[in-house]
Symmetry: C2
């Protein structure tokens, strides 16, 4: 049986404007590999309601799970929750369960539970909450879409809340091998080896820095013995090189 | 007149599998901001022909310029050029102009111009070449799609070849301000300020590390005087804080 598939939707102007680098994508990709869920696409869209609705509806129809990050805080530019509700044709309002969590949190910390903070309790009517042990304000799951915060430590905590509940597949294993030759010399034998192992993927990643150049080969698959066998043949093809 | 719009398509399994972090996106975003071209979407897809065709056709219909990175090298997993041709309904083969560039390069370096390396001269019939001063193998532009290498220093060189030929708009300017308070306290005054300056965008980015937390506000727009004015008001609203 093929592994379940996933897509990620990153919401926010800050990456598209070059201000910050996304960290959540790399984290989620690593967690999904371990869980045997194949991340097949990532999209990054701006803080635009129409862009969010279009991307969510496109992605949720094409993969088993969609993970979103960003746009669920208390400020005017946090428009993710409302637009996810719109994408699903669901209603959204401050919901008792989320409001109770936040009210208790602010009662403990002594901070005012003001109108802006109440916005973080806006949850679509058919969604279930995703626990946030870091800063309490919950994410939510609606259909096959998991809506999470963009702040990295909160995003990571929410992923940890969501993943154990999802059916995984066979974890993707990989081994890499560094060859001190350009891709142009590696290509033909590598292509023949890849054809011999259609159940594995063999990625070729040239590098070129500090005057040194070469090729990293990454062999991926779900059967460790097959990867071992292919890696042994690869090393025999390029014996002068050392494993990375 | 609104700025031209752009999208980026990153092609390759290595990011989706969590093996590497993308560097090209951050670079391109910064260059486009300077040029006054608005990057409104990024997609990352795997080394799948159908995924490439679908994404390119979707994006090129919705923005002024599409920039792709990855998948134009000599190995079996480099399938971008063929699938871009397919997306445009164009034919593709080894083209004389690209082959001549590569033949001269390998004659100079003494390396064999073998079959794998000839694959890098496969260019769609209606495309124009993008110069690659780093490693010679060219990218290409077809319609409004600019197809470039994934290796960061080559990608950057190709972007430098392409951008001067594109019509830009008003460069996006930004100023940021760091507030040592949570978003929940900042939200209401910030929202009112944002409503007062509909021509600017005000992004709110909470941070939370090493026990310190607060909010970075980024005000963006094309009119520096307007940004100055809004920033002055923001600083007056949160006077105890220092500019970042």
């Amino acid at each position: 049986m093929p592994n379940p598939t996933a897509a990620m939707l990153v919401i926010g102007d800050e990456i598209l404007s070059g201000r910050t680098r996304d960290a959540n994508m790399h984290f989620l990709a690593g967690e999904l590999v371990k869980r045997g869920i194949d991340l097949i696409e990532v999209r990054i869209v701006s803080d635009s309601g129409d862009a969010i609705v279009a991307a969510v509806n496109d992605l949720r129809a094409s993969v088993d799970h969609v993970f979103t990050s960003g746009g669920i805080g208390p400020t005017h530019d946090d428009i993710t929750a409302d637009n996810i509700a719109r994408a699903f044709g669901d209603t959204i309002d401050v919901r008792d369960d989320a409001r109770d969590l936040l009210a208790a949190h602010y009662a403990r910390t002594g901070a005012e539970f003001n109108e802006a903070r109440k916005r973080m309790a806006r949850i679509p009517s058919t969604a279930t909450l995703i626990e946030n042990p870091v800063s309490i304000a919950p994410g939510f799951t609606i259909g096959n879409v998991h809506v999470m915060a963009g702040v990295p430590n909160v995003f990571q905590a929410m992923v940890a809340s969501v993943l154990p509940g999802l059916t995984g597949g066979a974890p993707l294993l990989s081994q890499s091998y560094r060859i001190e030759r350009g891709e142009g010399q590696v290509a033909a034998p590598l292509g023949a080896l890849a054809a011999e192992y259609p159940d594995l993927t063999m990625g070729s990643y040239p590098f070129n820095r500090n005057g040194s150049y070469g090729t990293n080969i990454v062999i991926r698959g779900t059967d460790g013995a097959r990867i071992d066998a292919a890696m042994t043949k690869l090393a025999a093809l390029f014996p002068a090189d050392s494993a990375a």
